[in-house]
């Protein structure tokens, strides 16, 4: 899907690369034993190492390294068996050591890729340049006191994965799809919870514009955008700003900008001239990080099935459409739920019920799949009742609704409400006779060629049986009665 900005000098395309900071799921920080729990009282999850006390030394947390490797494997990326930690030096009150330990020259993960799906059903591959491990900084609080700022170091030293994409993204939609897909993979792997509102996943967005076929023009980096919607908005707004500058004969300056969603604009944070000189150099407190191929293989063997593979398998195994499979693998929990329901049953019907009435009911009640009052076993039991003819599809909708309200088992509801499907030929024939007699005029019209009226008769018979008649039988009996 192409996205162009129609300027006064013709169309412009946009070029976007994303740097995502994903907080690693781990019990303790990257280089200290302090807890990584979110939401503690300020400065309660801080070790002397995190606070940068004299003589304190970092020791790498192997659990965080495993998470980075697992993420690399999930991104089908090159795993670097030897990587290195560097110091990124700058002064700020949320940075206790006066430097961030990061991986600059030798990241743990090299080139990989992500396949994204777009709304028109097409797919694109976005390259991953690298993934590296680094420490998060603390948090400044400016709203606690009229004159002073406070520092909370709970987050200082927590492990982050910085995941850098190639400048392969060409539309705001692709940027959104990339972030969603990345988040999905991270969640499947259990390496990052992907909660952008809690800041455990944040994106820096690099945007430039160019005429078709041109080399890249100067880019701007929009820092710390904290929702997917804001990322797409920021790209649109920033690209439009750059087009305007170029077309008015100006030059886009390479700079770091902030996105202000309230005002719908990006603002300059610092120019290239003011850019920090981070004075990267290898951290002499840490040895090169050397990992064994056998360990990587072990981690690989224990990886969960990832969304792409799962989608392909669900399509094949359960005969469902690519679209339905895509919806069902959006979250691991949904896919697991689906597979529990579909196992040993009609996969297509299971998919239709889940993506239809079941999700609608979840949406209506504002519940996640984990909180669903209807478990996979009960939904499955309901499908069984349809399959064995105890209820028909129409009644099943009502049963499902009641299941959401009361949490009862489907069969209980059917019995309590007397919803069993009528398969008694005599009862249906009686109802059919009544309907045909009562609507003799319509019968005449039907026989005169108004075929559509057949549905009317079916509807009337269903109504007469309070919807409980077996629709196939109603069809058959009506046909026999009318055509003899």
């Amino acid at each position: 899907m192409s996205y162009v900005i129609e300027g006064s000098t013709g169309p412009w395309e946009i070029v976007v690369g994303l740097e995502v900071h994903a907080q690693v799921i781990s019990n303790s920080k990257l280089f200290s034993g302090a807890s990584t729990l979110f939401g503690g009282e300020p400065n309660t999850h801080v070790s002397l190492i995190d606070a940068g006390f004299p003589g304190m030394l970092p020791v790498i947390n192997r659990g965080c390294v495993a998470q980075a490797v697992r993420t690399g494997l999930g991104l089908k990326a090159r795993i670097n068996l030897e990587s290195r930690f560097d110091r990124k030096n700058y002064f700020y009150a949320d940075l206790p050591q006066g430097y961030q330990i990061s991986q600059f020259a030798h990241p743990i993960i090299g080139e990989g890729k992500i396949e994204i799906e777009l709304s028109d059903g097409s797919t694109r591959e976005i390259g991953i340049t690298r993934l590296h491990l680094e420490q998060d900084a603390g948090k400044l609080m400016h709203d606690q006191d009229p004159k002073r700022s406070f520092v909370d170091l709970n987050r200082a030293g927590v492990a982050l994965m910085e995941i850098v994409s190639e400048p392969d993204i060409r539309t705001p939609e692709e940027a959104g799809a990339y972030l969603r897909k990345l988040r999905q993979i991270l969640r499947y792997l259990g390496t990052c919870d992907g909660n952008m509102d809690e800041g455990s996943m944040r994106a820096d967005v690099n945007v430039s514009v160019r005429k078709a076929g041109e080399p890249f023009r100067t880019r701007c980096e929009i820092k710390n955008v904290n929702s997917i919607r804001f990322v797409t908005q920021a790209i649109e707004i920033e690209a439009a700003r750059q087009v305007e500058i170029w077309e008015s004969g100006g030059e886009v300056d390479q700079e770091t900008r902030l996105f202000d969603p309230g005002r719908g604009e990006t603002r300059s944070l610092r120019s290239k001239e003011d850019a920090h000189d981070y004075r990267y150099f290898p951290d002499p407190d840490l040895l090169p990080l050397v990992i064994e191929q056998s360990w990587v293989d072990q981690l690989k063997a224990c990886l969960p099935e990832l969304p792409d593979e799962k989608r392909a398998r669900l399509q094949k195994e359960y005969g469902i459409t690519a679209y339905d499979a895509g919806v069902l693998v959006a979250e691991q929990a949904i896919a697991d739920f689906y597979e529990t329901v579909a196992k040993g049953r009609d996969g297509k019907s299971a998919a239709a019920w889940m993506t239809g009435d079941f999700f609608a009911a979840l949406n209506r009640t504002g519940k996640s799949i984990e909180e669903s009052p209807v478990g996979a076993d009960k939904l499955g039991a309901m499908l069984d009742l349809i399959a064995d003819g105890t209820i028909n599809g129409k009644i099943a909708k009502e049963v499902l609704e009641t299941m959401f309200e009361t949490g009862e088992a489907p069969l209980e509801i059917v019995e309590r409400k007397g919803l069993r499907q009528v398969t008694d030929t005599g009862a249906i024939e009686k109802a059919a006779d009544e309907v045909l007699t009562k609507n003799a005029d319509k019968l005449e019209q039907y026989l005169g060629g108004k075929d559509k009226l057949f549905g009317f008769f079916v509807g009337q018979v269903m109504k007469a049986t309070q919807g409980k008649a077996n629709p196939a039988m109603v069809n058959e009996i009506l046909k026999k009665k009318i055509h003899g």
Binding site: G55, R87, G98, F281, D285
Partner: protein
């Protein structure tokens, strides 16, 4: 006098109940009371704590089975964080800093029963070779030239430790060595100083100067005492990623090891032009002594030695510029008053808090790591460092240990300090290469010069082979029979 005993002698005397740990400590705290005002070897004296620790030591000794250093009073360089005891790094910026933790090395010594007398003076953040940069005043060398009362420097940076041990106001002391900070002051003060292999002693809880070079070690009056202290200080520490996971051998046993067949290398490059005849003679004396002890003397070459100093003064400041960034007045230490902004707070705090030499090295380090200069300075220096390391590796294919002078001169006068900082850096010319390569090295006092000042010789060993250093050092010590003592010392003070 109790203060004249070596650690080995005192440990024996304590076990024989010739005297108590309380008496031994009291003798030292008393001497500190008499001498420290002049020497300024200690920044902080912890006499009460020491006496309490000595009382504990007496109980342990009475119960039997007390570890080797039980009741032995030591000085601790004020670069080791000591729990509940002010730790300053001789800097204003840490003038009020009381760590809530104990460094691994000092914790190891405490576990071994040692009694801490106090925190010894040093060059600010261990940056200096003459103990002239401490925020808490200069240290005086207890030695004086014959018939000349001028005040001499003790060397640095572990000058307080060296002066305290030489003046018998500590039986031994911890030092740290980044480019010579144990060995050079040991030579200037006529004592033994051992810098172990990089990684032998944990750096955890020791205030960092240059992380890839810093190494703790003992400063004592005999080689045997150095072996005893190192035994307690060394060992793997999972809290320091650069600490070596190797067993610590029996160092004391090495003091009596035979030197028959030991190959001693004499590097040609440690004989720079203008070297004093006196120093050359002492070096030759050392060579002869080792030959007499059964060693084979071999000429070797360490061709990149001449780049050592220049390389060191890129890498050490680079690391220091980053290591000292944490002293910002935000979380601990001294904070400047009246700052108008965060940047202003940093500038004021760091300008007021750091002395001139520290500021100079931070600036040099910041410069060599800057974009556009990194490749020409830092990266180049790292490459040269690899060549220096290779020099040692190939030399140690031919020999087991190297013998060189420790410093180009004997202690110089406080008034004779060079105005040019680069001249001052030349003091480290013989000690820096071993630091750059991580080799263990030791200075042993061998003779007095014509003006009555001690001169030391340096032994450099293979990685993690401190035992050979100790064996050769003990042989040198025995042959040299260096028994001179400084005029300023416990019981002999003028």
């Amino acid at each position: 006098m109790l203060t004249d005993l070596t650690i080995a002698q005192a440990a024996e005397g304590l076990r024989r109940r010739d005297f108590s740990a309380a008496e031994l400590t009291k003798a030292h705290t008393g001497a500190i009371g008499q001498l420290n005002e002049r020497l300024n070897a200690y920044i902080t004296v912890t006499a009460d704590k020491a006496e309490a620790a000595a009382a504990q030591a007496d109980k342990a000794l009475a119960a039997g089975d007390a570890p080797t250093l039980t009741g032995i009073p030591l000085g601790i360089k004020d670069l080791f964080c000591t729990e509940g005891v002010k730790t300053t790094a001789a800097s204003r910026i840490l003038g009020n800093f009381v760590p809530p933790y104990e460094s691994t090395v000092t914790a190891n010594l405490l576990k071994n029963g040692a009694v801490f007398l106090g925190k010894t003076n040093l060059d600010e953040f261990a940056m200096g070779s003459a103990n002239l940069t401490s925020a808490f005043g200069e240290v005086e060398n207890p030695w004086h030239r014959t018939g000349d009362a001028s005040v001499l420097v003790p060397g640095g940076s572990s000058g307080g430790s060296a002066a305290a041990v030489a003046a018998h106001i500590a039986m031994g002391a911890t030092g740290t060595d980044t480019g010579g900070s144990i060995r050079q002051p040991a030579a200037y003060c006529g004592i033994v100083g051992l810098k172990p292999t990089y990684g032998r002693c944990s750096r955890w809880g020791t205030i960092a100067f240059a992380s890839s070079l810093d190494q703790a070690g003992p400063m004592t009056r005999t080689v045997e005492d150095a072996a005893i202290m190192l035994q307690a200080m060394a060992g793997h520490d999972p809290k320091d990623s650069t600490s070596a996971d190797l067993a610590v051998p029996d160092y004391r046993a090495a003091t009596t090891r035979s030197l028959k067949g030991l190959r001693v290398g004499i590097p040609a490059e440690y004989r720079p032009e203008g070297m004093s005849a006196e120093l050359l003679a002492v070096w030759q004396k050392g060579i002869d002594m080792l030959r007499d002890a059964g060693c084979e003397i071999v000429d070797v070459s360490l061709p990149h030695t001449k780049y050592g100093l220049a390389t060191y003064y890129i890498i050490a400041p680079a690391e220091c510029s980053s290591n000292l960034a944490r002293y910002d007045g935000v979380r601990f230490g001294v904070r400047a008053e009246g700052a108008a902004s965060l940047d202003d707070l940093y500038e004021k705090t760091r300008h007021d808090g750091f002395g001139e030499e520290v500021r100079r090295r931070i600036l040099v380090g910041t410069y060599v790591l800057s974009a556009g200069y990194y490749d020409a300075y830092y990266l180049k220096a790292q490459k040269v460092r690899t060549l220096i390391r290779r020099d040692f590796t190939s030399a140690f294919e031919k020999v087991d240990v190297l013998l060189t002078p420790t410093a180009p001169t004997a202690a110089f006068g406080r008034d004779e300090k060079p105005e040019d900082p680069v001249q001052m850096y030349l003091n480290d010319i013989f000690t820096v290469p071993a630091s750059m390569a991580g080799q263990p090295a030791m200075s042993v006092p061998v003779a007095l010069d014509s003006r009555g000042l001690p001169l030391g010789l340096q032994l450099i060993g293979r990685h993690f082979d401190e035992e050979t250093l100790i064996a050769a050092g003990a042989a040198l010590e025995k042959a040299a029979a260096f028994s001179a003592r400084p005029d300023l010392r416990a019981g002999a003070a003028a």
